[in-house]
């Protein structure tokens, strides 16, 4: 608890660091939208974007090709925005799981939400349900619902005598994940040609997105983040241990449940539109914790922005480093995240969790 030195310490940190990180995010987005495999000069990129803004946009005469506008506004921008949303969601979910489960290894996928989503998505691919019911939204919706259903099963398994033990919960998560993995393997074995599509989805990616995907995840993420802002103090108390939290007046069981559901909503929303992008949810909360201390009132808001910066940056590298090729974004997140994390760990030299 080395970060909680004074009652207003966390406010000071936030007042300084939120604007700084927002500026970093702004520049990452600006830089990210300016580069890509299509050769479009930077000025045109910004003109296209400005022309889309209210008021400013009306004064700009489009002097570029339609395809240029499509590339900037309908391919790069939605992808970058999705990167921000998914990055924020995964990092926040990771921070919550780590706090609630009091386990430094926890990440957004620990309770099986992602494997449930993956199985749902795999079945959609296998049976060719893509356009059934909801058109192209079928896949994210099925993935989301099956992810949450998995969490429900884990919860029911772990709930003993109306109480939820964190160790039991993690175990139940592991067991359910193992079972789902076997079904996923079976699906893959039967999928033949579709195997590649399923594997690809599981690896996670922000490609081939459009504004509508942002539209579906945004409400979930906003609502979840609003709920979390009211529970940050309680999350700190949970960190002290169940009994201590109880004595500070926190309704441990209730708070835990709400936080777990919120974190799973965030994870489910992110996974449903981007597959399972690893490492963001594990590493970003840890990085924030290492740099800014272990006060969740600081960790959570900064994870929201940090996750967005990290994923926008990682995706930019994934789509430009070998252009015109795309690399799976998971390679980049782990490649960048792991060494930096190792560096922070060594530099800190304290037992910080």
């Amino acid at each position: 608890m080395n970060g909680m030195t004074g009652p207003n310490q966390h406010r000071k940190k936030l007042i300084i660091w939120i604007p700084i990180l927002l500026i970093v995010l702004f520049f990452s987005v600006l830089f990210s939208v300016s580069v890509g495999s299509a050769e479009i000069d930077v000025i045109t990129v910004w003109l296209v974007i400005c022309s889309k803004l209210p008021w400013i946009g009306e004064g700009i005469d489009p002097s570029w090709k339609d395809s240029t506008e499509t590339i900037i506004w309908n391919i790069r921008m939605p992808r970058i925005v999705l990167g921000m949303l998914v990055g924020s969601a995964l990092a926040t979910a990771g921070a919550i799981y780590q706090g609630v489960l009091r386990n430094p290894l926890a990440d957004p996928f620990i309770l099986g939400v992602s494997s449930g989503s993956a199985l749902g998505a795999a079945l959609v691919f296998l049976f060719g349900w893509h356009t059934l019911l909801l058109g192209k939204l079928t896949l994210p919706v099925v993935a989301f619902v099956s992810g949450l259903f998995t969490l429900f099963i884990v919860y029911v398994l772990a709930r003993i005598n109306h109480r939820l033990q964190m160790e039991t919960l993690i175990l139940a998560g592991v067991v359910v994940q193992a079972f789902i993995s076997s079904m996923l393997s079976l699906t893959l074995a039967l999928a033949e040609e579709k195997m590649q599509t399923i594997m690809y989805w599981m690896m996670g990616s922000l490609t081939l997105t459009d504004w509508s995907y942002n539209g579906i995840v945004l409400p979930f993420i906003i609502v979840s983040l609003i709920i979390v802002t009211f529970l940050m103090r309680e999350l700190n108390m949970l960190g002290l241990g169940e009994e201590a939290a109880y004595h500070t007046g926190v309704s441990v069981q209730k708070v835990r449940l709400v936080l777990l559901i919120v974190a799973s909503l965030l994870t489910g929303a992110a996974v449903s539109v981007s597959g399972t992008i690893g490492f963001v949810g594990l590493i970003i909360p840890h990085m924030i914790r290492l740099i800014f201390g272990s006060d969740y009132r600081v960790i959570l808001p900064l994870s929201v922005i940090g996750g967005a910066i990290f994923l926008v940056g990682a995706d930019m590298i994934a789509r430009t480093i070998l252009e015109p090729r795309e690399l799976p974004i998971g390679i980049i997140t782990a490649f960048l995240g792991a060494p930096f994390f190792g560096y922070l760990l060594r530099k800190k030299k304290t037992n910080y969790f």
């Binding site: 299509a38 090709k65 590339i71 309908n74 060719g128 040609e193 590649q196 252009e323």
Partner: protein
């Protein structure tokens, strides 16, 4: 004391794994070299074999680098790869085929023949069918050695180009005593290719169609060195991703910028409405191919399967690219 013991054990384990890995990788290296040498051998031997039709035993160095000696004309043949099945049937040996895989779908008769597995082969089944010859592909990998260890005679094919497809057909012809038929097939295939080339070579560079080959909905494509790329180029098209090797995944914006004239989709047989979905992509509406409705499904069975029908696939691609030149 206990700790030291554990360390020693760990060190030994690591050493084992390391040695194992090195052995594996050097094996692969050698095999790779053998492959390229032997495909040349194949051709020479096949060329000189036309006189002694049906004389056994024959010895063939196949694409796995193995010398395969076939003592007498095979009466029971198993094909574990669809391209080989088509070759065997093309050579008129259909009634000798006792086993195929679930992936086979041509000709129609294969559906009546016993299955020996799909991507994973069922060795028990293969052995119990007592084949005189199993025709396989280098992609069957370890399964080849396993079958050989069981005493099954395996002939391994591995065509990656049109030229190598001819060789494969001749090799199978030699192994089955049907050299004359094999040569006929190859001659007629070469005629198909010549026909296409004659039409296409007159098309000036600026009128050549640019092509986007979509082999996966996630925008995987076929770059240079792939069979599909060879087919498109032979058919007079320009693959917009020919500067990439192998099977890369491409940025969407790159495809839009390159603005292809024609789009080929190869997964339409297992993804519903594949062509429609491509046509409806909102971000692709400025692409020439979309505006002119030039999005076509390619049946990969005849455009990528290295068998006798491959040149029909070539003709088909050329006709889609330049309909006005072919339907005169």
């Amino acid at each position: 004391m206990k700790n030291t013991l554990r360390h020693i054990l760990l060190a030994v384990l690591i050493a084992f794994v390391a040695v194992g890995l090195m052995a594996c990788s050097s094996d692969e290296g050698e095999q790779g070299e053998n492959n390229s040498e032997t495909s040349e051998n194949n051709q020479q031997e096949a060329d000189s074999s036309s006189e002694n039709e049906g004389s056994f035993p024959v010895t063939i160095t196949d694409d796995s680098g193995e010398e395969v000696t076939i003592e007498e004309e095979p009466e029971k043949i198993i094909s574990v790869i669809p391209s080989a099945t088509e070759i065997v049937f093309g050579l008129g040996l259909g009634d000798k085929v006792v086993g195929v895989t679930d992936n086979d779908n041509y000709p129609e008769e294969v559906k009546e023949i016993e299955s020996v597995g799909a991507f994973e082969l069922n060795f028990e089944k293969i052995v119990s069918l007592e084949p005189d010859l199993v025709v396989a592909d280098v992609n069957n990998g370890e399964a080849i050695q396993q079958m050989r260890d069981q005493g099954v005679k395996v002939l391994v094919l591995g065509a990656q180009t049109l030229e190598e497809t001819y060789e494969d057909i001749l090799t199978v012809g030699k192994a089955t005593g049907t050299t004359t038929k094999a040569e006929e097939i190859v001659a007629s295939m070469k005629k198909d290719v010549e026909e296409v080339e004659n039409v296409v070579e007159d098309i000036p560079e600026e009128e050549r169609k640019t092509v986007w080959l979509e082999i996966g909905e996630e925008l995987f494509t076929a770059g240079s060195g792939t069979f599909l790329n060879e087919m498109v180029e032979k058919a007079g098209g320009i693959n917009i991703m020919a500067d990439q090797d192998g099977w890369p995944q491409i940025s969407e914006e790159e495809v839009i910028e390159k603005n292809p004239d024609v789009i080929f989709v190869t997964y339409a047989n297992y993804v519903e409405n594949a062509v429609d979905k491509v046509k409806k992509r909102e971000t692709w509406q400025d692409i020439t191919a979309i505006q002119e409705g030039e999005v076509h499904a390619l049946n990969s069975d005849i455009t990528e399967r290295t068998g006798p029908r491959i040149t029909q696939g070539l003709k088909m691609i050329a006709e889609i690219l330049y309909p006005e030149k072919f339907n005169q």
